[in-house]
């Protein structure tokens, strides 16, 4: 079973929920946790895994043999990402814009283009007691997170009973890549106008992907019920509310996730998982 944990807005508590879920059920199920927030992976802080394997992630980018190129610009016109510029006498490539689709090499009649690997990031694999853990790290200066996430998800959900995916925030390509193909997406939000606005966007995104969703409200404030009202109107289940509580923040700031810091919350997260499982069925 593949459960992704996403949000529209950043900083709502995706990692808190993902790590707590993993820790709460690890004695009952075999669990895998994948941190797909490759721009700033932080789930490892709460899981403390021992990394045993690291693999470089590369994407194919064009290399142009200038002796064969006649500057016909077919490659440049075919590239929707504008990663190749053809000038009168020179060719410029922009590997950071390249999505590795290979269309440039395909359309080149002179066979002047070969695809060469371009490093974008690293994935690390390891174990913590009861949890198989993976994370991706996008190299500094790189813009394309999706190849790293794709590689992280290659064998996701194959060995373990449950795989949790800690998604990047937002609703752009990297979130889509992380959430895609999951059995259910838990959307973590907060009871603020920003939380609600971005929750709506995230729900629209997962609807497009055909992934069912449920909501968790973090830092819930009883005086702002707009998220609850929205969920009721749109028949989106709210599976858990985590209050705005100093002691939770305090634990988290010490690198202790909620399910490990509080026996009561550990129970709550076990319960959350059972409810999640029912929704998947």
């Amino acid at each position: 079973m593949l459960i992704s944990i996403a949000s529209g807005k950043g900083g709502t508590g995706k990692t808190l929920v993902a790590t707590s879920l993993a820790c709460a059920i690890k004695d009952t199920y075999s669990v895998e946790l994948i941190d797909c927030d490759v721009e700033e992976p932080n789930a490892h802080i709460f899981i403390n895994p021992e990394f045993t394997v690291s693999e470089v992630v590369e994407t194919p980018v064009p290399k142009i043999d200038e002796s064969k190129c006649n500057h016909c610009a077919k490659c440049s016109k075919a590239c929707v990402f504008n990663a190749i510029a053809i000038l009168n006498e020179s060719v410029l490539t922009f590997p950071d814009l390249c999505h590795g689709c290979g269309v440039c090499a395909f359309v080149c009649e002179r066979k002047a283009i070969t695809e060469v690997p371009y490093r974008t990031g690293l994935i690390e694999k390891g174990y913590a007691p009861g949890i198989k853990f993976k994370q991706g790290k996008l190299d500094i200066g790189r813009a394309m997170a999706t190849p790293v996430i794709k590689k992280l998800k290659e064998d996701a959900g194959k060995e373990q009973d449950v795989t949790f995916i800690d998604s990047p925030p937002g609703t752009s390509c990297s979130m889509v890549e992380a959430v895609d193909a999951s059995d259910l997406c838990l959307l973590v939000t907060e009871s603020t106008p920003f939380g609600l606005n971005d929750l709506e966007l995230a729900l629209q995104t997962i609807n497009q992907l055909g992934v069912p969703g449920a909501v968790i409200i973090n830092r819930a404030r009883p005086e702002d019920r707009r998220v609850e009202q929205y969920c009721q109107q749109n028949q989106v289940p709210i599976l858990m509310q985590i209050p705005l509580d100093y002691s939770i923040a305090r634990l988290y700031s010490k690198g202790i996730t909620l399910a490990l810091g509080s026996p009561q919350w550990r129970e709550n997260f076990r319960h959350l998982f059972e409810k999640t499982k029912e929704l998947v069925r």
Partner: protein, 134 residues
Amino acid sequence: MKIAVSSTGASLNSQIEPRFGRCEQFIIVDPETMRFEVMENPGSIASGGAGITTAQEIARKGAEAVITGHCGPNAHRVLTTAGIDVITGVSGTVQEVVTGYIRGQYTPSVNPNAPEHFGAGAGFKRGKGKGSNL
């Protein structure tokens, strides 16, 4: 000679558009006769790499100088490789800046003066930099 100016409108009296890659139209002026043509910019609707495609189009038009507000690193690389002078940080009408250029009031910039995605509008990675080489 041809000079390409990023413009908010289709005449010599139009104000300069500060964005390069996302500018909708360029006025390409012959400063000797002040005759001009309007170039619709394919980069304004590009999903990415707007500055690159804009710079390529300007090179194809045979311009020898570009006058604009902000120019990012990718566009700057294409323009300078094509041997085009890049004048940034300029404001005023198209007529004014072309006259200024001919009088030698501006120095071509050696470096880009905006980060990538500067003119792309609201987005997760919206650029925040500002700068001028003047």
